[in-house]
């Protein structure tokens, strides 16, 4: 309790938030003192983001109060929150691609000149932002248009935006979900610096290692309720997981039931649009899970989408069980049993405003149809079977997809493909932003698929996951497969070496 000696800077008292049909938060209290790093963890849909949005004035609580420096606030808006010194890095990117980095960082707080004219002092803005960017150690300039940045760089812009506020409280909602390891390290350093200058930080993440590294105190949410707290000394992986899901987690790796078959997916010199100079060859046999690791932008998604027909290959051949696959259209890929669970669930994975059954059957409708017409009963039956098989937590198959939590949404995406007997199943970041409990279930599904003779390719940037789940790891670097690792050779060091352009020999040392 040593950390709590300082008076709380900021308090939320017994806040609740109800959305139609969902009680996102129920009577949660939270307080934070200057210079404290509070780790906030919990499963998907536990209410972490909602709690932070209330703190940041974006969402109005259904009940409860906000207390700042001892004053109770009845109305609490973004403006007031900003004035009170709260800076917020949202879970989703909130950038304006049509503006440059400096404009994005200072949006809403532009330095002005000529008084009443309210003109923007562009030079001053650049100067200020450049200073912040240097502090973050990033490699782009303040006048770069944001549309030219990678996702990781965008994430850094978000962080720069929060830093530029000179905030008293900094909220980071999964800031590292798309950052690479070095970038994450850099961020954790910055957090340590901020802590020294007495800034309070609330840090949300699903990567527990980061919490262990930086948090002074951990608060756990479960199903919208306060599920416990841990002081610095009590923080450990196991205790956190137990508090989050209310039970212990089994080890991730499940060995395959049998040795992989010879058949499967093989790529010969496939060239993608993103890296026209590189040809990729690789092989995924039926019955094995191949992890595809690499840094952001290594070209994995691009490759997966090319195989699954969303993009046209510039060259090369794709074979399934030795036979050439007609590439270039999703329909053709689907016809040969190659499916992709894409990395961006909300944008490309789901029809958020359709019910579960519509989502599960959308790719297979013509087969389910009697003549031209959709077979409604058959459709519901398929959805019901898949939902119970994947234990989707939803009131019924006519529940709208957008009301589900992230993990359940991901299961719906999987249900869509599993109902169609895949031959090759590609998972692109299958657990991005998904909580530990659901992660375990999804790993189970992958293994079951492999055991049923499916060739499983898993793209992931989560080192723990790649190492913990795969039977074999391939690593990509700038469009090339820079190496492969067998299970015995798995190590974070080896994967990272390959991912940053090292050779296989270096990786083995």
């Amino acid at each position: 309790m040593a950390v709590m000696t300082a008076p709380p800077l900021f308090e939320l008292r017994s806040v609740s938030k109800t959305y139609p049909g969902v009680a996102a938060l129920q009577g949660v209290s939270l307080s934070i003192a200057p210079g404290e790093v509070l780790g906030l963890i919990g499963e998907n849909g536990a209410g972490k983001s909602t709690l932070m949005k209330i703190l940041g004035g974006i969402v109005a609580p259904t009940s409860g109060e906000v207390v700042v420096d001892g004053t109770i606030h009845t109305s609490w808006s973004v403006k007031e929150a900003t004035r009170a010194g709260i800076a917020f890095v949202h879970q989703e990117l909130n950038l304006f691609e049509n503006l440059d980095v400096a404009a994005n960082v200072l949006i809403g707080r532009e330095p002005r000149r000529y008084g009443w004219l309210n003109l923007i002092d562009v030079d001053e803005a650049r100067r200020r932002v450049t200073a912040i960017l240097q502090r973050l150690g990033v490699d782009f300039a303040a006048d770069t248009p944001v549309e030219d940045l990678s996702i990781a760089q965008c994430q850094m812009v978000e962080i720069a935006k929060a830093l530029s506020l000179d905030a008293r409280i900094l909220i980071l909602d999964e800031p590292t979900s798309s950052l690479t390891l070095p970038e994450t390290q850099r961020l954790l350093q910055v957090i340590a610096e901020l802590k020294k200058s007495n800034v309070a930080i609330i840090y949300i993440t699903h990567r527990l290692a980061e919490i262990i590294e930086c948090a002074d105190r951990v608060m756990v949410l479960r199903d919208g309720r306060h599920a416990g707290q841990l002081d610095k000394t009590d923080i450990s992986r196991d205790t956190m997981i137990r508090m989050m899901i209310g039970r212990d987690l089994k080890t991730m790796y499940l060995p395959p039931a049998a040795a992989p078959e010879a058949d499967g997916l093989s790529l010969h010199d496939v060239v993608t649009d993103a890296y026209p100079q590189c040809a990729v060859s690789l092989e995924v046999r039926r019955g094995e899970i191949v992890g595809l690791a690499g840094l952001m932008g290594a070209g994995r998604t691009e490759l997966a989408e090319t195989v699954a027909g969303m993009r046209r290959a510039r060259g090369g051949r794709i074979l399934l069980d030795g036979k050439a696959v007609t590439a270039g259209s999703v329909g053709a890929a689907i016809a040969s049993g190659i499916y992709l669970a894409p990395e961006d669930r909300k944008r490309t994975g789901l029809l958020l405003e359709m019910p579960i059954d519509g989502n599960v059957t959308i790719a297979d409708l013509s087969r389910l149809a009697t003549g031209w017409l959709v077979d409604r009963t058959g459709e519901r039956e398929v959805a019901r079977v898949q939902c119970s098989r994947l234990s989707v937590a939803a009131p019924g198959v006519d529940t709208m997809a957008f009301t589900l939590s992230g993990g359940n949404q991901q299961k719906i995406v999987l249900a869509k493909w599993l109902s169609m007997q895949p031959a090759v199943m590609i998972f692109d970041e299958p657990t991005r932003g998904i909580d530990v409990g659901a992660k375990g279930e999804i790993y189970g599904i992958m293994r079951a698929l492999a055991d049923a003779g499916v060739a499983v390719l898993m793209i992931s940037s989560d080192m723990e996951e790649v190492i913990g789940v795969s039977d074999r790891i391939l690593v990509m670097h700038e469009g090339r497969v820079s190496g492969g690792l067998a299970r015995e050779a798995f190590s974070e060091h080896a994967v990272l070496t390959l991912a940053t352009g090292g050779t296989g020999d270096e990786a083995r040392t």
Binding site: S16, T18, P20, G21, A23, I58, T62, P342, L350, V374
Partner: protein, 348 residues
Amino acid sequence: MLKKELGLLVLILVICAITTVLNPQFISQVNLMNLANQIGLFGLLAIGLGLVIITGGIELSVGSMLALLGILFLKLLVELEVDWPIALIVTLLAGTLIGIVHGVLITRLKLQAFVVTLCGLLIYRGVARWWTADSTEGFGYGGGFETLEWLASGRFMGVPHTFIFFVVVCCLMAIVLHRSVFGRYLFAVGKNEEAARYSGLPTNLVIVAAYAICGLLTAISSILFVFYTQSVSPSAHGNFYELYAIAAAVLGGCSLRGGEGSILGIALGMILLQVLQNLVNMLGIPSSLNFAVMGAVILIGVIADRELQRRRRHRLVRAAPAGAPPETARAGAAPGKTEPHAVPSSRA
């Protein structure tokens, strides 16, 4: 889902009842049949536009197409003295073709539907005027298409064929939209085109098909209109009709963001608009107020719909299990979720 349609139906009935009280001739058979005829004439346009709107698109050139296709049909029939079945088929094909071109420009070249069809609006009107040298085309002394004339403008037991057509098309389209695989694809594409593409749907084809159907229905409508007005004046024929059709679809519950709407709703929307037009005449309201009445009713309808939705959401929140206490007022105005595409573009 059906709540919206029910509300619209009630509104129509109330308006009809009031009008009847003020002027009982409103429900005379003659008037109802005239009304039915108007609904039939304009209804097809609204159905076509509704499909396009459901895919998240828009079609602004309907009025101009009506003029150009009408003139094409008359030229074929009267000047080239082609047999009517051929003239009919050529016109329908031309309409479908225009729709396909729009669809291809939008999907292949990734142009915005608003821009493409705005250009269509200008171009087709211009071509129609230039082709006829700005003079009205009529049937003149031509003949030999009595069957077609009877089909297009006759009555069956007092009911205008146009209305019968409309009902048939509605039923057909209701099945297509709400029961068929294609219909499901239309909604899917309208709700989230990317996700639809990633699920292997032929999204471009679906969109092109929607525009093609819209073009075909417009072409059918153009022929019905030709027989209704007996002539086509290239500069005025069909002016602003796209707006009526869009208004009907919106009144009927289509969202211009795509992915929402029903045939029943669109049909009721058009019925309401035509009832309004008719009552302006039946009650002797100055014709000049015609537009104003229409605009006001659409606006009120849309606001009421929005308000009802808000209330319902409100009620749901109150009904939510958790001890949901006071400050509900703000929860009602909940952000985000109901409009997941609340990106600025969707406001357009």
